[in-house]
Symmetry: C2
Subunit: 454 residues, 2 copies
């Protein structure tokens, strides 16, 4: 441990420079305008892996944003660990409420502020630097394969499609993914369940152009009125989703399982203070923690229609558009949900407007086994670095490759991340505590050594 | 008539130049950023009135956008006509779907394309040029007072407040307002009823910033979900407005009155083709024409919340905002409607979000008398220029000064406009047929002469 800390201390300045230079690349994946930046991020990552001592670092083409692969093969007799992460990030612009430019990282109060500072560039940087240390102090006593992708924020469509053909290249005995949160800075956390996702865009087309609401209002169907009617009909008055058959495959947890969730560390007041609200609401009959982990949910992610500048522009907008996403529990099939949803919303469209539904994201949920080589290595590493076992928690976000690794590579993943709930990933002022970076590097080094000894 | 046409022919080029130069001034009133441009428009209008031969042209300060006044007093024994209009326009930007810059007028296919080409700069230009002709061929045989304002698109708040103190200056026997449409290019139309308006902005504040919907969705109240729920609850499933007491003062028309509306020239197919829709919907039990004239309506004018760029950004937005306007029938009191509305929407707010309601527009409706000096002058003018009496119709849009003229000046107004339903006022590609300008000038000249002889 002393040797690791001294290595981090010595290289601290260089690590921060390398991290900042990586964060400066605006490798935004949603939308189609950032191919070049994503390729630059992939190239940079390839260089970082080579400098860390990994062999055969290269890009693998899948159509748009390339995969980055590198390996360290010590011996065919040793266990092999697969490390996964993503270099693409969510869109960000200073107008969204950032205190500083999202692609010009700043270090303030021990936190790095930048899009991707945590999700996931900051966390894959932890992995790369752990590898750098391990390879400088070889033997590692296990083989390591690293695969990074550039479309996770879009649901990993091309990587998941390519996975069956990459079976041999990526064959391993377990996987490590650092793309999740700890409950708090003292409580290492293993995510053993993830919600899936189905996301759609709704476009309602009405009159050929905006109309004067005084002259036409009441007679011409208003696409914005129609849109709010459709969106409101997606839930009932008690926080339940009203799409037919939506709850068909939702498993009811038994009292014992619910008791386990109830005993997890969760302070409602602290949680509300963190997110900046004074009250909360959700599905009747479930606790806050259940609502955001073992129950499905529906969130409108954005709406755009009509005039929203200062003052009044009394118009009937020509069209209205909304994006929304369902979070699904493991047994729900995103395809089934999208079919049910599409049929239901079409039935709600009033005469005079036309509805188009576009699928913009889709990923199944997942429940991991509690005991496998990756999970055991995570426990040993956490005991060593944090002095305690990680808690096992369900998290709301989807990581689409986890079920794909199980299906195509037949391996279990340890979802051992170092984010904190205050990092504000996907929002403005995304940030990551430097302290978590150093703690993370120590933990990943300990993880690999534990995995090697397994 | 020949003399007028020859005058128009001779001055055609100059008129178009003057009109274009007037339209180039972006005198947008909603919002607070255009005070300087509005003042420039007012100054230009003052010059146009002086050049037309009007006396004492001057600006009257009311706080922001000034009033423009000018007069022609021939004799205290002659009747006095008050002419009203507005030089302010709705916001416009080429990104809204304009084919050319909204403040760089273009003449295409006999139509002038520009913001304000019709509403109302184009129509007050008709008045000014009619005055120019009349004053060149004096005596006029009546006195004329002109008052133009710069806040009509905001509901004329300051002009209406100033009216009581302007009683002596504006005293007259009748008023002419050219700010409305004809049913079609062959059918001169007098508007004898106008709907009122109540417009509000709703702001829902939720979490301090956007949150990751996977991690927080289901537990944290989503302001966009809440907003759509509130907006959808404003109407029932049959196109009726669900605000308590909303219909308290809505008069039911008797079969004879409804029969009169049913006999007005209105072709559903033509109307739908004009606005670019294939079907329409509205309040059950009423015809299309009734829905947009004698019945109240509610239109969402704009919504803004969350992420609406390309792809998916799976967030819970930190806030959500909507603008909406009610069109009211004459007996409905905007103040009562706004109070009922505010109380009702507050009762719909779920825990975890805060709702702020801001009033952004308010104007009572009005029904004119069918017979008064202005209406009689309009009939004579239309018979002379169009060879037929104008039809009497109700229109959906509010012109807030009409009831204020009745209350404070005790005069009736003739709402005799030359717009067409295809002019697309308030929308992109607002335009006005040049032919309507020439026809309008002839009609206003005939109107003044008829009024003088009354």
């Amino acid at each position: 441990m002393e040797a690791i800390r001294s290595y981090l201390e010595t290289n601290r300045r260089r690590f921060i420079d390398e991290l900042f230079s990586f964060l400066r690349i605006p490798s935004v994946s949603p939308g189609e305008d950032h191919e070049e930046e994503n390729r630059r991020a992939a190239e940079r990552l390839k260089e970082l892996l080579s400098s860390a001592g990994m062999d055969g670092a290269r890009l693998i083409e899948t159509g748009t944003n390339p995969l980055v692969y590198a390996e360290h093969i010590e011996s065919p007799d040793l266990p092999t660990l697969l490390i996964y992460g993503h270099y693409d990030v969510m869109p960000a612009a200073i107008e969204d409420g950032w205190s500083s430019e999202p692609f010009e990282p700043e270090l303030r109060d021990g936190r790095v502020y930048a899009r991707g500072a945590e999700d996931n560039k900051g966390q894959i940087f932890i992995q790369v630097k752990a590898l750098e240390y391990l390879l400088a102090a070889r033997p590692v006593n296990c083989n390591i394969k690293v695969i990074y992708e550039g479309e996770e924020e879009m649901g990993s469509p091309r990587f998941r499609k390519a996975l069956p053909s990459l079976g041999e290249l990526l064959s391993a005995d377990g996987a490590l993914i650092c793309d999740t949160d700890m409950i708090d800075a003292d409580t290492p956390s293993l995510i053993t369940g993830l919600r899936g996702m189905a996301a759609v865009e709704l476009n309602l087309d009405g009159p050929a152009q905006d109309l004067h609401s005084g002259m036409f209002g009441g007679a011409v169907t208003n696409p914005a009125n129609a849109l709010t009617g459709i969106l409101a009909a997606l839930t009932d008055g008690r926080g339940r989703i009203a799409v037919p058959e939506f709850y068909r495959d939702v498993v009811d947890y038994d009292p014992q399982q619910r008791g386990k969730i109830a005993r997890m560390p969760f302070d409602r007041g602290d949680f509300m203070a963190e997110v900046g609200v004074e009250d909360m609401s959700g599905e009747a009959g479930f606790t806050d923690l259940e609502r955001k982990t073992i129950r499905p949910s529906m969130d409108i992610n954005g709406i755009s229609t009509g005039y929203t500048g200062p003052g009044l522009k009394a118009i009937i907008p020509g069209s209205a558009t909304a994006k929304l996403s369902f979070r699904l529990v493991p047994d729900q099939d995103p395809g089934h949900i999208i079919r049910q949803f599409s049929e239901y919303v079409q039935s709600l469209v009033p005469p005079g407007v036309k509805l188009t539904v576009t699928v913009i994201g889709e990923a199944p949920g997942f429940v991991c086994s509690d005991d496998n080589p990756s999970i055991r290595a995570a426990h040993r590493a956490c005991r060593q670095v944090f002095g305690r076992d990680p808690v096992h928690i369900y998290e709301g976000g989807a990581i689409p490759v986890v079920p794909a690794f199980k299906e195509h590579l037949e391996i279990d993943s340890a979802l051992l991340g170092f984010g904190l709930p205050t990092d504000n990933i996907h929002g403005p002022d995304e940030n990551f505590r430097l302290e978590q970076t150093w703690k993370g590097i120590e933990t990943v080094i300990a993880f690999v050594r534990a995995f090697a000894g397994s």
